[in-house]
Symmetry: C2
Subunit: 306 residues, 2 copies
């Protein structure tokens, strides 16, 4: 049936990159020998840590696929986060853990669960289909779950994520807490990035009802390290607001040790942050205590208050 | 967590009614003791045959649920085919086999596969979760698969549907071919229906791009039996077109023995049928050879040509 291109969202994170690799392995085990792991952007430093740890290559970088091609989406379903010609390709499968944002004109395999990480769903797919999980695949999966759940501490983390990490750590022969902390810390190294790059590291375009927003999240072990760049960050954020016609740009600086986020909010709808969290923005910024999950603690609350 | 209302689409068919009953059983086995099988309309004659065969009650008839209620959707995901306040309830799960037409602001359990019947997916869920399938549940499941695949003959029928029916027939202790033909024939009995009722038996509102259409499908063992009512059917179809502002009303009269459909097409976009199938409508009607599946042989082809 020709190649099957497997990819996650733009601005790939560890879940998106590893899910592409793991799904390609899964498909090959099911007999789809032409399944190819792909990516729509470059791995971040956290993901590089994982790939280097295992000594494996990143998925193949693609910008688009030919019309009519077979694709499998992992870790996303929104056309906004996918290839531009998504409506002209044949989506065979989706494996995801996000809200629904995809319409199709044909039925397909769609597997999503309200768990912390796509790889937790992948783990279940391996189990259900009786497919063996080797050390490498186990390490890829557990890395993503640790990444998405901030070492099982995020409110997005479910019992199923915890169970998967523990079982996968057993297979991989890894102390997941030590490994996970090193991996997360590797992801907080911003030293080689320009201001513009920092603002695109994990940026998602999200509409809170009629509020056109971008929410970018940057993990750190020390919020003050990132806040040193506040003036430069704000200058560029304002430029992006003008360039893209945004109503709101939220930068979440997330403390992975203490599980809080400092938000910098700019744009004409910045007060939506105050309304949503009962905080006062001072000099465009506020501490959102306990907020670490864009999906669970930002999107629904901001949407409800918009 | 309070009641969980489980229901399929409006104008329920055998898959929708049995999936609601089976999903309630599945949820209860998983510990969700407040799961309640519901329905948004009355069982058709085919479904009544199944319920009578097993001596069980239909799911509870509901018209709506309270805002904020927990619901599980089976055999549909489109808001158009569901309760009116779908956007104000909490969808816990979807189990389906249709194209995607649902947007949410939150992640959820979504399980769809491109198979012939929702119950084939339910069958896999029981297996994956190691939950026992008793004779009653097996009979409900296989009835739906036979209904949706016209005794495994529809192009929507996959190997997974065939496998499920054979395994379920074993559990139920049923000769599925004999049972299935009796069940399908029970569904073709139109004697007690008014013209208007016939036109709403299995009617779905579908937009083929900008063409606002209703496609109604009626199964029969003899097309000429239904065509005797053509004048009266057309008169009422034209009324519905005016009442609902439709561009197209397609009535598919499907011969379950020979696997063809006679179509009656009315409305200003009726020529879309001619273009899509390379046929000439004579007196508003044409034979569509081999066409038995609205999902696989009508929706994609009409959409592509619209």
């Amino acid at each position: 049936m020709g190649k099957t291109y497997i990819f996650g969202h733009k601005n790939p994170d560890t879940d998106t990159i590893t899910s592409s690799l793991v799904m390609a392995n899964f498909e090959q085990k099911l007999g789809n020998t032409e399944a190819v792991a792909c990516r729509l952007g470059n791995p971040n430093k956290e993901t590089e840590y994982v790939l280097n740890y295992l000594g494996i290559e990143a998925p193949k970088l693609i910008e688009s696929v030919e019309d009519g091609a077979n694709v499998i989406l992992v870790d996303h379903n929104s056309p906004k986060e996918s290839i531009d010609n998504l409506e002209n390709v044949n989506i065979l499968k989706v494996v995801d853990h996000h809200k629904l944002a995809l319409e199709t004109s044909y039925p397909l395999f769609y597997r999503a669960e309200a768990v912390g990480c796509t790889e937790t769903v992948m783990y279940k797919l391996y189990r259900e289909n009786g497919i063996e999980i080797d050390k490498k695949i186990a390490t890829l999966m557990l890395s993503a779950i640790i990444s998405d759940t901030l070492l099982l501490k995020s409110p997005t983390c479910t019992n199923e994520d915890v169970k998967a990490v523990k079982e996968l750590a057993e297979i991989a022969g890894i102390n997941y807490e030590e490994y996970g902390l090193e991996m997360l810390k590797a992801g907080t190294d911003l030293s080689s990035f320009s201001i513009d790059e920092i603002l695109h590291l994990d940026a998602k375009a999200i509409d809170f009802k009629n509020v056109k927003a971008v929410v970018n999240q940057v993990n750190t072990a020390d919020i003050s390290d990132v806040m040193k760049m506040k003036v430069d960050l704000e200058a560029r954020m304002n430029e992006i607001i003008n360039e893209e016609g945004l109503d709101l740009f939220m930068l979440l600086i997330t403390d992975i040790i203490n599980s809080n986020s400092q938000v910098i909010a700019l744009g004409k709808s910045a007060s939506l942050v105050e309304k949503s969290y009962g905080v006062k923005l001072e000099d465009n910024t506020a501490l959102l205590k306990g907020v670490v999950s864009r999906k669970k603690q930002v999107v629904p609350i901001m949407t409800e208050n918009a």
